[in-house]
Amino acid sequence: MAVMEKMTRASSGGMISGRTMFCHLDAPANAISVCRDATQVVVAGRNIFKIFALEDEGFVERLNLRVGRKPSLNFSCADVMWHQMEENLLATAATNGAVVTWNLGRPCRNKQEQLFTEHKRTVNKVCFHPTEVHMLLSGSQDGYMKCFDLRKKESVSTFSGQSESVRDVQFSMKDYFTFAASFENGNVQLWDIRRPDRYERMFTAHTGPVFCCDWHPEDRGWLATGGRDKMVKVWDMTTNRAKEIFCVQTIASVARVKWRPERKWHLATCSMMVDHNIYVWDVRRPYIPFATFEEHKDVTTGIVWRHQHDPDFLLSGSKDSTLYQHMFKDASRPVDRANPEGLCFGLFGDLAFAAKESLMSGEVGRKPYAGGDRRYPIFFFKKPDVTEQFAQVSSALSVFETAPGGAPMDWFIKTARRYLLSGRPFAELCEHNAKVAKDLNRPQVSTTWTMLRIMFSDPANPSSSSNHNLSKLGNLPLMNSFSMKEMSSALTERNKENRQDNIHNLDSNLNTTEDNEETEGSEGQAEYLFGDAELDDDDLYSMEHENQAAEEAEFSLPQEAFPLRHEIVDHPSAPEPLTEKPESPHVSGSEAEATCLTPMESFSLISVSSSLLFPPHLPPAFFSPVVIAMLRYYAEQGDVQMAVSVLIVLGDRIRREIDELTQEHWYMSYIDLLQRFELWNVSNEVIKLSTCGAISCLNQASTTLHINCSNCKRPMNNRGWICDRCHQCASVCAVCHHVVKGVFVWCQGCSHGGHLTHIMDWLRNSTYCPAACGHQCEYT
């Protein structure tokens, strides 16, 4: 260990040694700073202003700068900085708006040298120029930055940020004249010290205040910023527009950020609230801190690397009234405790699973990747890097695809495309949709549509269309009265059964996997997957396989099975479960080729029962509870498509009975699915037809029409027809010269236009613009 330290010392050229240590302060610290040779540190806060020497054995108090019987507010420091050239010179920013410099060389007890009271509000930050001895910069809550020449009594220049609250100012390490300032409104400005009139560049770095910024000590273009939005961002300032090159998401607002010396990619952060730890991040690995220091008991307020060429010592002050020196080798490494595993479903039922190599290699019966296999292991190795000390992890990524030819989501897309949701009489819509469902081999869905039509159509005026199912089944009043109770109880029964299957399946799971020669998953992996509760939420797969789940005892798949299991059973080697179908008392929801129960048959099965229990003319409201139960059933099964389609088609007949939130949830899920499948038209149609306020406004969000005045070509700000600037009527019809109120059609080439009808008339006779601008107008 000692040898190592010596080496560090030798390499950095400094004379630093030490260990992790701390000392108690009398009061919370607001900021700390070290002197150039890294032997002393100054701590400043509301009620503390002291200098400590860093000895090998611990901190030793050298000087208390807070003197006087009744210390003034000038001692109440928000920030402190030790000059990096002049070892006797310090500057503090006081909460009352004063900027104070201190000269340790003064012979008397009071070391205060200069006092600038030019700022009207709290000064948040002071910063010495890295190479210029007499130049000091301050940034204040009043929105101004001031540059002081310490040889003069007043500031030499004032920079106005044109917004309130400068939170941080930092001179660039490499560019002599440049400094960066961060603001409470989220902006970062770059200034040239010689040009106080205007900033060189401004960009919005964060939402909410930017609490801190720090220039990279070596790379001249890099600026790190931290904000209340919990992000640390690294900007490349060499390009024309500031470009965000890295972004680290932390768990609390970022109060300070400091680049780590000698390590290009590392920076240290601490947070403003709640989180007391100090993190060192490798900006290339933004998801997990490279190292963490967990010593503080309250928020850390100041961090500084002890020596500008030594990456191993970090000093920190905190609200818990302690001052720490952290040794990098003592830091905890969160990555060592992390489990690098991940799992994700793809749109078409693919499943990707990544785990540590070591875990994966222990698998039993794993097969090497072959061309025809559905599993593609992909290996990631991080290149060994001398300075990089991140634990090296190699993960294996497995991708499971669904069996080719199964195309499990086809039905969804086809259904979405072909369903009709509006524009025709109710009965026709139902009939059409029933037919679509039937074509796609979804008899249960088809039956449901047919039943809906029967339930909600007015029995007095039977649908004009002739449905063969209907005609075979005889008169309508009778139909109207078949027992819905039976139906719903069948559904619930079935639900129960499925639940049991689910439970049962946990046991039989192992058998299943072994039975199938295509299965590669190890037990460990399978169990892991199975234990994941989220899997039950996967709603895409429920409909297509549920019949198998329901009928096949030996295979007893969970009905909300996940793809891994699915594809196993789906494979041709599995026996076809559908052959036993006709015995089924259920209405089938099978997607498979073999249809066994036609909707007609299932009707007759059910409608035999108590037709006399109810009077023949039932109001549609009578069916509402059962329809609601049906909708919920479908939604729970994951066929949210059905739930939403029925909801839309039934419209007012049902929507009042279901609470808005549930409806909204269904709509959202369905729209989300549609958009993932890029069925934009259908999704828009659904949005349009929805009756939920929250949904129908989706289409209106972020749609803005910018209108320019047709006379002066400036943007129109106000509503109405008069332009602010030229005080003339904008949007005048080029044909009749009246203001167009309503539909305005215009040529995109010359921007003349007018009433739709007028323009149409005009263009019948001429191809030129009616405003006689000579443009050959084109309307599409």
């Binding site: 509301r46 009744k70 003034s72 507010l73 000038n74 109440s76 928000a78 006081a94 909460t95 009352n96 708006g97 009271t117 700022h119 009207k120 509000r121 709290t122 809550q141 609250s165 409470e184 909410g208 205040p209 609490f211 209340r228 609390a252 607002s253 403003m272 609230m273 709640v274 007391h276 008991k297 309250d298 928020v299 818990d320 109001p619 549609p620 409201a621 509402s624 007012d652 007949r653 009042r656 009975e657 009756t691 306020g693």
Partner: protein
């Protein structure tokens, strides 16, 4: 029974679903007429009929209006009894609904009922505020669209909304926050939220808010017995009492122990952080809104008790309040010119404050702060000790606990909170964002809007930079609550805020129930009402922020 035939089938089912308690009572509509109806009370059921009027769907609105008309006319013609509630609701709609059709129809129905010999109620007040003439509010108030939106989202346009409508940009974000607080997803159940508002506004004897939210509480399906008093509620709510009391009157006394009592694992029934933070926001919101209600002299809603009378007031003409208004609006010539010179003086001082580069010692600064903080301004009002009215007292255990003037200099004065050490922008927001994210954003926006709100006018002057004045107001209110800004010279407060204004502000902020019309009229006599409302908005937000800061600081301390 009559009503039944006119209501479409689904309507019935919906009503039943909405009120599960009645599902078993089959002949519900019989009960409606009996005076001792079981819950939900008939008034709530009637109110539901009106809430349909504020549907976003225009057709639905029309249908609701038709249904309402029919059922009322039906009753009038068959000389069946029209419930009081219906009449009152009609009165409210006829006075405040921003949608002309509905408003006119309601007025028509009332008139029709009167012709049939039904005693119809009259609103006692001429407008939303007792201090501000109604026509001024109507003239300068927010546009139709804001009001319509408010009506559609809340089901009514209450007086507070109408008065705030003088500052539409603020009203917008106020309503959004309130909606998020009371309606949108959150850890607390909806009736609870209203109940917390009730118990909080009761601390300031704000019967306006108590009645408004009692009504909403029942509508959300709250248990009627809770309204009998705090002792009828679950212990969990009762445990909020201490915090409520402190937040309302002496927020600087809130410590981490108070938080610990509520959230620590040993405490049963225990509050989760998420619930607690919502409750805290609700309570502070209600406290500061009570200040606004009192400060602007908000009149009771026409459907609240004290807001209407069934005696015909047509002959008597103006109510006493209105007569008052009439007098105060026409001061005599001498007063007038005095007032003008006051404005001039204030302008001058503002200029002075902006330019002055006066240096003074820290000692002096501290003295100035302490002087502002402990100045006792309430001597004259002290004599009249308000006793909470009966309708409210059940929500107010320990009614004697109230704001206390800081003892002048020294002993026992609570430690000041330094704005630099715990500010909303840095600390408050960060913590709130963690515990109740969406609310942090909304509050932040609201604070920003109110802090930046200016029309650059002052009384008859235009294009005035009022920053210093607004800052003085804001900082003075924080000062009264013991928050000190290191970088602010409290001498400015003394220069810019005249004594009568300070009396008003301190009363409204600390003892809102003691606000009088006199106080309101005696400050800034030449200023416009909208400017006085602006002062009240600053007051509301500054007070809210102060209370939140203390509560959040206690939570922070508990968490670390």
């Amino acid at each position: 029974m009559l009503e039944m035939e006119h209501t479409p089938g689904y309507e019935l089912v919906r009503e039943r679903q909405a009120s599960p308690a009645t599902e078993t009572d089959i002949p519900r509509e019989l009960e409606e007429h009996s005076p001792t109806s079981r819950h939900p009370p008939a008034s709530v059921l009637n109110a539901r009929r009106f809430s349909r009027l504020s549907s976003r769907d225009e057709q639905e609105r029309t249908a609701a209006l038709e249904a309402l008309t029919q059922s009322v006319l039906e009753r009038v013609e068959n000389s069946a009894r029209l419930e009081r509630d219906i009449l009152l609701q009609l009165l409210r709609v006829s006075r405040s609904c921003p949608i002309p059709d509905i408003k006119e129809r309601a007025a028509e129905l009332l008139k029709r009922a009167q012709e049939e010999g039904v005693a119809i109620p009259q609103a006692l007040s001429s407008g939303p505020s007792a201090f501000i003439p109604a026509d001024e509010i109507l003239e300068e108030g927010a546009g139709q669209d804001v009001m319509t939106e408010a009506f559609l989202s809340m089901g009514r346009v209450d007086h507070v909304t109408m008065v705030m409508g003088l500052h539409p940009s603020y009203l917008n974000c106020f309503l959004r926050t309130q909606n998020a607080l009371l309606q949108l997803d959150g850890p607390l159940p909806l009736p609870w939220r209203h109940y917390i508002i009730i118990m909080a506004s009761a601390r300031h004897q704000c019967s306006y808010l108590v009645q408004l939210h009692s009504f909403a509480f029942l509508q959300e399906g709250g248990d009627e017995t809770w309204l009998k008093g705090l002792s009828h509620t679950p212990t969990k709510i009762q445990r909020l009492h201490t915090l409520n009391k402190l937040l309302a009157h002496r927020p600087w006394m809130i410590t981490q122990e108070h938080i610990q009592e509520l959230v620590s694992p040993g405490a049963e029934p225990r509050w989760s952080f998420a619930e607690l933070i919502q409750a805290i926001v609700l309570m502070s919101h209600a406290h500061s809104l009570s200040s606004f209600v009192w400060g602007c002299g908000i009149n009771p809603e026409p459907d609240q008790s004290g807001g209407h009378t069934f005696q015909s007031t047509a002959q008597s003409g103006l109510s006493p309040l209105q007569q008052n208004n009439g007098q105060s609006d026409s001061p005599n010539r001498q007063e007038w010119s005095e007032a003008v010179s006051e404005v001039e003086l204030l302008m001058e001082r503002m200029m002075m404050v902006q330019q002055q580069e006066e240096e003074c010692t820290q000692e002096e600064m501290l003295t100035r702060f302490e002087r502002e903080r402990s100045e006792s301004l309430l001597e004259p009002a002290e004599g009249v000790r308000c006793v909470p009215p009966d309708s409210i007292s059940q929500f107010v255990p320990e009614p004697d606990f109230s704001y206390q003037d800081f003892s002048p200099r020294g002993e026992q004065s609570p430690t000041t909170m330094r704005a630099q050490d715990y500010s909303w922008e840095d600390h408050g927001f960060s913590l709130m964002n963690r515990l109740y994210g969406e609310m942090a954003q909304l509050l932040e926006e609201k604070f920003q809007v109110v802090y930046a709100l200016t029309y650059r006018t002052m009384a008859m002057h235009t294009d005035v930079d009022t920053t210093t004045l607004r800052k003085a107001l804001w900082n003075y209110i924080h000062c009264v609550y013991g928050i000190r800004y290191d970088d602010y010279d409290y001498g400015e407060v003394n220069q810019l805020l005249e004594r009568s204004l300070k009396v008003y502000i301190k009363t409204v902020a600390c003892h809102p129930e003691k606000t009088t019309h006199r106080m309101y009229t005696s400050f800034w006599r030449h200023f416009r009402h909208s400017e006085k409302v602006h002062v009240n908005l600053l007051l509301l937000e500054a007070r809210l922020q102060a209370a939140l800061l203390y509560a959040l600081r206690a939570i922070t301390r508990y968490m670390t």
